[in-house]
Structure formats: C-alpha cells, structure tokens
C-alpha cells in the first residue's frame, strides 16, 4: 500500500519520526514498507483497504519503550494507533481509524508476568495471545481455565479492552481486568485500582479503587496505552455438564430467553449462554453454493428443507454447568424442568470430568481456537464478515422486537439471516453475522447500506451496538445522543486535557481530539 502521511506531517518530519523511533526499538522493529502497510490493513475491509491506511508500524518490547515512543510521537506530531496483537477481525483488524496513523504494535510485549493459581489470576502484557496463555497454564499445570472468544488468535488484553465476549462464567472479558498499567498520552505512566499504590499486595484482586476507579476509562478508549493488566481466571471445575437442546422454530427464541435469563440473573447458570441460529452450524459444512446456488437470500422454504436434511433446530441452545458433580446434577434438573414445559425432547447431555481432555472446538470450556473463522469459507472468494451487534434487554419482548426489525431489514437487502443471542446477564448481545465476498463490489455496497440501516433503525427503537467496525465508529457514537451527546462532549474534554496533541488513537470509538476533529468525516464506510 502506498504511503499516506498523517495529517499535516511532511515527508521529512515523518522520516525524522521513524528514525527517532528506530533509536528506541532498533531499526528492525520500525516497519514502513508498502508490504508492511498492507499487512497492517483490514483484510475484511468493507470497501477499499485504503480507506483506513496505516503509514507505518513500530513495535516496542517494553513499557519503557512505549513511553519513549509516545513522547517522540508528541514531539513529531505523528499519531499512534495502539494494537495488542492486531487481530480484531471484523472490526478493522490492526488498521487505524484515522489515515496515516502509525500502528503501535505491542505484539512483542508477550510476557506472562505473574500467575497465581490460588487466587486465580494472572498479570500479562498485551502481546499475550489466547493460545499463549492457554499453553502457559498447561505448562505450569495451573488448575485454571480461561474464557476465549471466537478468534483465539488475538490478544487476551486486546480482546478484553475492546469489550470482547466469551462463553464461560468469565465471559465478560472487560470485567476480568483488574489493575491496569497505562502509558498516558504524554508518556507518563499510571496504574489503576489498588495498583495505584506502589507494591500494593491486592493490585490485581480488588475490582474497584480508592476514589474514582479509572480502569474502564481505558477500554474501547484512546486515553492511554495499556502495557500490562491483571486478568481473573476461572478455577478448573471438578466436573462440567453440557445440556444441548435443538429448538425447532424461529419464534421459540422468545420462550428460550424468558427461561434462561432468570436462571442466569439468579446465578443458577453462570456462563454466558450462546444461542446461534441454524446458519451458524451449516456454514461449517461447506460453501453456500452447495446449499443454495442463487445470489438471492436463502428463502424460508429452503431453510425448512435444510433444517430437516441436517436434523437441525432453528436455534441451538447449549447450556454448560461448571463445578461439583452433585451441584451440577441438581442444577441440570432445574434447567431440564424449565425446558420441559416447552419442549418434549430431552437435552443431549455430555459430562466432562477433571483429567479428561477438553473438546478443542468448544469455546465454553475455554480452549482457544481460530476454527470459528472458517465460516469465511461459506461465501467463498476473499470472504469477510461484519457483525451487527446491538445489546437488548434479556426478555422475549425486546428480543422478538429486535429480531423482527433486523430480520426485515436484512431480508429487504436480500441477505441471509444469521443471528445469535448471547445472554450475558440482564441483557443479550444480538450478533447478526453478515458475510460477503470482498471481490464482489456490489455485495460490499449492499452490506454497507444494510449495516447503516441496521444501526439507524435499531437506535430509533432504543438499542445500540456494543462494538463496531472502524467505518461505523462515528455513526454508532452518534446514536449515544442523550442531552446533545453529553457523553461525547465529556469524552472530548477529557481527551483534549490528557492528549492535547491528539497522539493516541484519534477517532477511536468516535472520540476525536480537537486537533484532528476535521478528519472525522473521512474513513466512514
């Protein structure tokens, strides 16, 4: 990819900045060839990758090097886009929101600094991936489980900082963060929570602070660069029992939510319950053309045929219980009794006991894998996906309301319907997976229109996305409109106070520093 300079930075100034960075990290860790710029672009970009071009990348090996780079970036006015491992697939990967930003790639900072099996936590750097941490736990024989997202290739901290979700009792990943170390936009360093006291023994244990707790100020944020953090881990359960139900009809999702959510809120079920629709199962069986050979959306009659042929329900519910065997048995009776009121077929039950291997494709037992990304093969070509992910209250009323709305909008755009609901507490994340072939421009255009329609119409009804792709960061930020966008106005005040040169991730989640606010209209999908 050709070089796009940061706004108002001359080629000479840019070159001087890279040379200065090389003085900190070594020449080999400043990456600025056309090939490097390609590697840091978004392979799933809805539209040309050149909409979100990085100018270069720099890869520090320590927090001290991060501080030095941030100070130099202020001096040379070259904005940085920090990534932990840069595997935010579907949301922009490693690509920056503002053209010309320099990717601050923290992938080399990949140490597990502390592991405490007794209290169940670790302290890690941003470059530690899910596979790395899983293998570290295995090598240390630590009786601890992680929570993993669909893409295990990414960073544990990066995913948590971007509000990623998993499917175990520790599935709200940002809630597992405790005691962050952060390089501030001026190069200063602070620690949050109890860690704000040097050598505090509960730095990564107490989930609040003395005084205001700033931990979550640094998630989905451009207020600083997180260089290490405590992460809570789940004690390995004595047993685990999975109950899986095939739910026959689309409208059944209403009663499914109404029986699962109260059990989740009451603590009888402690995992995040993932409920995918049928297409989530079929995508792994082959390519779309094997099941429906037309470009138009798969019609309902064909869906019915496919469900019959492959013995699938419209929805799949997999509830996993963790802990003592007798407790799991007792909980299972409650779950089964609740389902029996609506469904004659009993669930398929599979026990896991300590000492047994865990299923490597089962995200609910915390094993990292990249296999869910295989769904990309469904559409063929240079396949990509976008997830439209509004958060809805976990009741049938709201779930059905959102389902009907998104279903209609998606059908109006003649796109296949692939929804899932993840019940994470009093809410459900409704992820609508939109898959497309990047080599078909008309398909990409249609997806973009569809996505924008989903954001706008859902917001009108009172639902917002929890996370989004670079191209819609501003559009989604616009939907948070209480009192003339009071939250954005506060974010901007804080941003300008902490980062007057707008060095850290300008535009992240729609928060623009005043020096780059003129760029906010660019890079919208």
């Amino acid at each position: 990819m050709k070089l796009t300079l940061p706004p108002r930075v001359s080629p000479m100034q840019f070159d001087a900045a890279l040379k200065a960075f090389a003085g900190v990290v070594g020449k080999g860790w400043v990456l600025s060839s056309d090939e490097d710029r390609d590697a840091y672009s978004d392979i799933y970009a809805p539209g040309p990758e050149t909409l979100w071009p990085a100018s270069a990348a720099v890869a520090p090996a320590s927090a001290e090097e991060v501080q030095a780079i941030v100070r130099l970036a202020n001096q040379f006015k070259t904005p940085l886009w920090p990534v932990s491992r840069g595997k935010n697939l579907g949301y922009g990967q490693a690509a920056p929101r503002m053209a010309g930003s320099i990717v601050l790639d923290l992938g080399r900072m990949n140490k597990v600094l502390e592991l405490d099996p007794e209290l169940g936590y670790c302290v890690i750097e941003p470059g530690v991936g899910f596979f790395d941490l899983y293998e570290h736990l295995a090598r240390e024989k630590a009786p601890l489980w992680m929570s993993v997202p669909g893409n295990g290739w990414g960073s544990v901290l990066g995913n948590a900082l971007d509000h990623g979700i998993g499917y175990t009792p520790y599935g709200l990943h940002a809630r597992n963060l405790c005691g962050l170390e952060v390089v501030m936009p001026d190069g200063d360093m602070m620690r949050t929570g109890m860690a704000a006291m040097a050598n505090n023994k509960a730095s990564h244990l107490f989930p609040m602070s003395y005084g205001p707790d700033w931990t979550h100020m640094f998630t989905q944020s451009n207020m600083g660069v997180v260089t290490k953090a405590g992460v809570f881990l789940q004690p390995e359960p004595e047993t685990s029992l999975e109950l899986s139900f095939d739910i026959p009809n689309e409208e059944d999702i209403g009663w499914v939510i109404d029986i699962i959510a109260p059990m989740k809120i009451a603590g009888l079920i402690d995992q995040n319950v993932f409920i995918p629709s049928w297409l989530g199962k079929i995508v792994l069986l082959g390519q779309r053309k094997d099941f429906w050979d037309k470009a138009s959306a798969i019609p309902d009659w064909r869906v019915k045929e496919l469900l019959k042929e492959h013995k699938l329900g419209y929805w799949k519910v997999q509830i996993r219980l963790y802990g003592d065997e007798n407790v799991n048995k007792a909980k299972a009776e409650v779950v089964k009794a609740a389902f029996k009121k609506h469904l004659d077929t009993p669930p398929h039950e599979v026990w896991w006991r300590q000492g047994e291997d865990r299923n490597i494709y089962d995200l609910t037992v915390g094993v990292p894998t990249a296999v869910p990304l295989q769904m990309g093969d469904w559409v063929g070509g240079r396949s990509a996906h976008l997830g439209f992910s509004p958060v809805v209250p976990a009741t049938s009323k709201h779930v059905m309301d959102q389902l009907k709305r998104s279903r209609k909008i998606i059908a109006d755009h003649d796109v296949d319907f692939y929804a899932s609901f993840t019940i994470g507490g009093r809410f459900a994340n409704n992820i609508n997976m939109l898959m497309y072939d990047r080599d078909k421009p008309e398909q990409v255009e249609s997806m973009k229109k569809l996505f924008s329609a989903l954001v706008t119409e859902s917001a009108k009804a009172g639902y917002a996305e929890y996370r989004t792709h670079l191209g819609w960061m501003d559009a989604v930020a616009d939907t948070f409109d209480f009192n003339n966008h009071a939250q954005r106005r506060m974010n901007e005040k804080v941003k300008d106070a902490l980062d007057p040169n707008g060095i850290i991730a300008p535009g992240k989640q729609g928060v623009w520093p005043s020096v780059y606010r003129d760029q906010s209209k660019e890079g919208r999908a």
Binding site: A39, F131, E242, H348, W351, W352, A370, V371
Partner: protein
C-alpha cells in the same frame, strides 16, 4: 466428494461441542478430534537474527491454524481432497510440493482465508527458517 462430505460431518460433530468423542466414532463414524496441540515454546533471543529452528518456529508462529485440526488445516484438507489428494496433505508439513518463495509469498500477501502476517507476527529471519523447513520441493 464423499470424503469431503465426511470432513463436513466431522466438523459438524466437532462443532456440536460434545466434550467427549461421540460413541459412534468407534463404529466407523468420523474420527474423534485430537487433543489440544501444544505449540513449541518460543525460542528466546534475537528474533531478527538468521539461523532459527524452522520446525520450532513453524510450530510457534503457524501453529495457531496449521497444526492438526487447526482452521488452516481444516480448510486446506478440504481443498486438497477436492483436488483428489489424500486428506493428510491438508497439513503443510506433509506437503512435498511447496517452495520457499511460495510460502513467503502466501505468508506476506495472504491467501483466501489467511490474513497477511506482519513482521511482528513472524520476522523475515523467522520466515526464512520456516520456509526452508516446509519447502521440500526439489530436495
């Protein structure tokens, strides 16, 4: 095509998330999934220096997807079987036709589902060692 369909069934069975191998696996059904494939421990030292252990570096940097039952292996198994080759060829370490230049090109430029790898993901020196390890064509 029948074998390809079998692979699909294997994947479906796997993704139904049964924790233990299904009992029917023993009766001629799809083979059970392997246990988690541990990657090698990353070598310490200068990642920019030449002369690394290609086998180890392959495991560390490509093992996310290209060990048995990984995402890349699954997709390549399907691809090779469609071409009439045995399923074992889905594993890159079993391929006899790969060249170092081809491997480097795919790693840096990406291919279908495979994203481009940055030089932090795998350095040029590491990639040289991996490409030399995988390239068996003409050897």
């Amino acid at each position: 095509m029948k074998r390809v369909a079998l692979l699909g069934l294997l994947l479906l069975a796997a993704c139904n998330k049964t924790s233990a191998p299904a009992p029917e696996a023993a009766k001629g059904g799809p083979p059970p999934l392997p246990p988690y494939q541990m990657r090698a421990e990353a070598p310490t030292g200068d990642r920019l220096a030449a002369g690394g252990d290609g086998a180890k570096l392959y495991s560390v940097h490509c093992g996310y997807c290209h060990l048995p039952a990984g995402m890349g292996t699954n997709l390549l198994t399907k691809q090779r079987m469609m071409m009439g080759e045995p399923p074992e060829n889905g594993l890159l370490t079993n391929r006899k036709d790969l060249t170092a230049d081809y491997i480097k090109s795919v790693v840096r430029m990406g291919k279908v589902a495979m994203p481009r790898q940055t030089r932090v993901d795998i350095t040029d020196a590491e990639l040289d060692a991996v490409a030399d390890y995988l390239a068996k064509a003409g050897k």
